[in-house]
Subunit: 198 residues, 2 copies
DNA sequence: TTGCCGCGCGGCAATATGCCGCAGTACAAA
DNA sequence: TTTGTACTGCGGCATATTGCCGCGCGGCAA
């Protein structure tokens, strides 16, 4: 619904960048990393990836990227630490922090530590690119580009938490603060629809 | 968790400040303003108050305070605009943004616009003072754990889209693929819930 | 003025949810 | 083996939430 046009004029906008701006993707979820990486490549980024903050830090020291997408909660070191390190090393890197466990507190910390934006998963490539673009705090900005319906968002979130709990419906319901029966019904109603990430 | 001790050694820390650091309190809730103002005076601040962003801005232009506590949602201009104005005029002012309608989106905006911290009501004087003190981003401090409940996720998302559409409820409802009436009801009902995550 | 659009709200039927219970399965400890 | 615990799927039913109508209001531009 909202891609096509946005894909290319991005690299064009970045006069200060190489033709293919470098992007470091840090997330310990292999699937997520692979999928997002692929998309971002198509969008004109030179993508490198790391599955932990430590590995990422090694890479960054060698060659600080222009852009970075960093997951907050990873096995090992927190993404927040990495954000601070990168900011200290090279304040020019534009970082977006991702998380499935959004909270005001971590959002505030992320921004203070130098991130450009903070997004709660699920996100798609458009969200991230929009976040990069919107470097300054625009009180009103209004960028649009987010047709994610409530239902879809809910579905994505449920799937995520469900996966994190190894498909355990009872635990997921508890953690999500919803009735198990309700979760069951939601799951059984949706099975046909398999939303595409892109 | 973080009070008691912080109350008095605060003024002491501010070598660059007057003995009584100036504090501007902006909130359109008269009771809240009065109560908090009183407490902050006792805590050693030279307190001035305003019941709207516009009035506050007049005051700030005359004499930029060292500290400011700004409510986000007020009749008239949003507190966010004031944050930006103050930051542009005098970046040295330490601002804390308050809100009863906490959301990630507004938290991020607040920090990007120059606020030192973002707190969800209800707050007490200790919270605010702690926020002023904690200027540095403490990476490991905020770890956060539990996933967003469905309700909260929905709330965050609605806030985000709503902000992107300049608070236009009809457009937001359309974009979110939900009934306008439903959105209205959600918006009017949620604030009663404790939106504070932590 | 008229037309368009957004807002807030009431009412009512259609749905969804919360909460009970029950039966079946799996697994680990006794 | 038996026992205890936990998860799953499902039915029923009272209650809560939505969807969808309508209304009147105000702002704004043609």
């Amino acid at each position: 619904m909202n891609d096509s046009a946005t894909s290319n004029d991005f690299a064009v906008n970045k006069e200060s960048a190489t033709l293919r701006p470098s992007l470091l993707l840090v997330d310990d979820d292999d699937t997520f990393r692979a999928v997002l990486g692929k998309v971002m490549k198509r969008r004109g980024f030179e993508v490198s990836m790391a599955n932990s903050a430590e590995v990422a830090w090694q890479s960054v020291q060698q060659d600080p990227p222009e852009y970075a997408v960093i997951d907050l909660k990873m096995g090992g070191q927190s993404g927040l630490v990495l954000v601070r390190q990168i900011n200290a090393l090279n304040a020019g890197t534009k970082m977006v922090v991702l998380t499935g466990y959004a909270s005001i507190a971590t959002a505030v910390e992320s921004i203070k530590l130098g991130a450009v934006h903070y997004l709660a998963k699920p996100v798609d490539a458009d969200d991230i690119i929009a976040a990069f673009d919107k470097t300054e705090g625009d009180a009103e900005a209004a960028v649009a580009a987010n047709p994610l319906s409530i239902d879809r968002l809910e579905w994505e979130h449920i799937q995520r938490i469900l996966a994190e709990n190894d498909g355990n419906i009872s635990v997921t319901a508890r953690v999500l603060n919803m009735h198990r029966r309700t979760l069951q019904r939601k799951l059984s109603k949706h099975p046909s629809k398999r939303p595409v990430p892109q």
